[in-house]
């Protein structure tokens, strides 16, 4: 199980890579492993405004359906739409090739509320 140090994490098992005002979002290695083979993905449209914790899409494996939650307040500025045709990439490269959306931060709080890798690893270990 990988927990990249430079990423931030949510309790809903999303990761966030923060670069200035842009936050790239995906699901964690733990999330993809729990889901199993990902076969379906539903992503939001560019321009949609999201609140922290708001569902912005759906990921489905053969067995399970899971909502995707925004880690931050912001606006969707880019969507990884190619992934919809090849959602299995999420299993293979959850932390890079499997990124889902890029969100532009709108709140002053930014991403400060998110967990660091050590805290998230501890959370996963407790499950």
């Amino acid at each position: 199980m990988r927990f990249p140090k430079e990423y931030k994490y949510t309790q809903d098992h999303e990761w966030a890579r923060v670069e200035g005002k842009t936050v790239t979002v995906g699901i964690t290695d733990h999330a993809q492993s729990s889901l199993g083979d990902v076969v379906f993905l539903e992503l939001p449209k560019v321009g949609r405004t999201l609140k922290k914790g708001e569902a912005f899409g759906v990921v489905e494996s053969v067995k399970a359906v899971s909502d995707l939650y925004s880690p931050v307040d912001g606006k969707v500025i880019e969507v990884h739409s190619d992934l919809v045709d090849d959602p299995g990439t999420i299993n293979k490269e959850p932390h890079d090739g499997g990124w889902l959306v890029k969100i532009e931060l709108t709140s002053a709080d930014g991403a400060a509320h998110l967990m660091d890798a050590a805290a998230y690893e501890k959370l996963v270990a407790s499950l």
């Binding site: 076969v39 053969v62 359906v65």
Partner: protein, 371 residues
């Protein structure tokens, strides 16, 4: 405390992801559902199904008792034959579906769903207690804890199992079985039955011998492409065949005629539990029917989703199972729909997260259709 089969340590060793399945700790997958599913369709899959319940029904009145208890004509089976059956409430609702193996004229093995084992056994006991004089000398016993049941399924299943036994497997026809030995001296029932739509066998052996048989099958089968398969692949394999699963397609409130199991309800035998109500349903035609459907736009149908008319305005029924078919790479589902919309080719829609998505009723099984 979850129950474990004799093969628990083997599953852990093979990297199985263990989950709670009706009180049993069993692997949902090892390498991945799609990988395991395709291995079973292409070569062979190995399944631990020891959680299933096994009853012995024995005595001179055993066949008559089973004819009374279940819907199919048990007394017509030959020794060495297995028969698919439905156990009904007096209302015609389904207690369980099960397979009955005739081991002798007066000796039957009844195999039931794991989660229904206690319910089914009480049901059989109740029938016997209410009809003691009619079925005198009948022995009804729950031996579930004594059997390991392993399914080896797929086009290579016979070749793999043959390496473990001197019983000539090619002599065993579909839904027939033989009693023989595996791995030298282990007594086993070798049945050409299964739940995947592939050719294959279910092997019943003593509980404690499970690991020996399992390991021997892994060893014999791996070079031929066999993979251990978890509950996830078992579910997608049976869904592609539209085989019903209790708790999904079958329930106390559903009857075998609407479930498409009329072929195992034999009205040309004597009285049986549920006969009256089932006769009425047959005469009137079931109000809803179990169908297969394919989603044509983006989305995967799931149990509990509603089936609507093509324009999305009227409710037609409900999904009982659904998945992305690993073999067809299409989103497929099984649903109860109003009988007037049940014909193959009918355009419908499935309500996925509040939106009607285009779908069509299709012929089933989804795969392995006879040419």
């Amino acid at each position: 405390m979850l129950k474990r089969t004799a093969l628990f340590d083997e599953h852990v060793r093979l990297g199985g992801r263990m989950v709670d399945f009706g009180g049993w700790e069993l692997p949902v997958q090892y390498t991945g559902i799609i990988d395991e599913h395709l291995a079973c369709r292409g070569a062979a899959g190995l399944f631990d199904v020891s959680h299933m319940g096994e009853f012995h029904v024995e005595g001179p009145s055993a066949a008559a008792f089973l004819d009374f208890a279940v819907t199919n004509h048990v007394s017509k089976t030959a020794v060495g034959q297995a028969q698919y059956n439905v156990l009904c409430h007096p209302s015609g609702g389904i207690v369980d579906d099960l397979v009955i193996y005739r081991r002798a004229d007066d000796r039957f093995l009844v195999v039931v769903n794991a989660s229904n084992t206690d319910k089914d056994f009480k049901h059989f006991q109740g029938l016997l207690n209410d009809n003691r004089s009619r079925f005198s000398g009948l022995k009804l016993e729950n031996h579930s804890a004594e059997y390991t049941q392993i399914a080896v399924q797929g086009p290579k299943a016979e070749a793999i199992l043959q390496k473990l036994t001197e019983t000539r497997l090619s002599d065993i026809k579909t839904y027939r079985f033989a009693e023989g030995k595996v791995c030298g001296s282990i007594t086993a029932i070798l049945a050409r039955t299964g739940y995947t739509g592939e050719d294959g066998f279910e092997v019943y052996c003593p509980w404690k011998d499970g690991p020996t048989v399992w390991k021997a099958l892994i060893e014999a089968g791996t070079p031929m492409g066999l993979k251990p398969c978890g509950l996830g692949a078992r579910d997608t394999l049976r869904t592609e065949m539209k085989y019903p699963l209790y708790g999904h397609e079958l329930a106390d409130e559903t009857n075998p005629l609407e479930a498409g199991l009329g072929w195992v309800v034999k009205f040309d035998k004597g009285d049986f539990v549920g006969r009256g109500p089932l006769e009425k349903i047959k005469a009137a035609g079931p109000a809803r029917k179990l169908v297969g459907l394919e989603v044509l736009d983006r989305g995967i149908p799931r149990q509990g989703y509603r089936v609507l008319t093509a324009d999305g305005r009227e409710a037609l029924g409900v999904l009982t199972s659904g998945t992305q078919s690993p073999s067809l790479k299409k989103a497929i589902g099984i649903a109860y729909v109003r009988a007037d919309h049940a014909a193959a080719g009918t355009d419908v829609s499935v309500e996925i997260r509040g939106t009607p998505v285009k779908a069509k009723i299709v012929p089933t099984p989804f795969v392995n259709q006879k040419k």
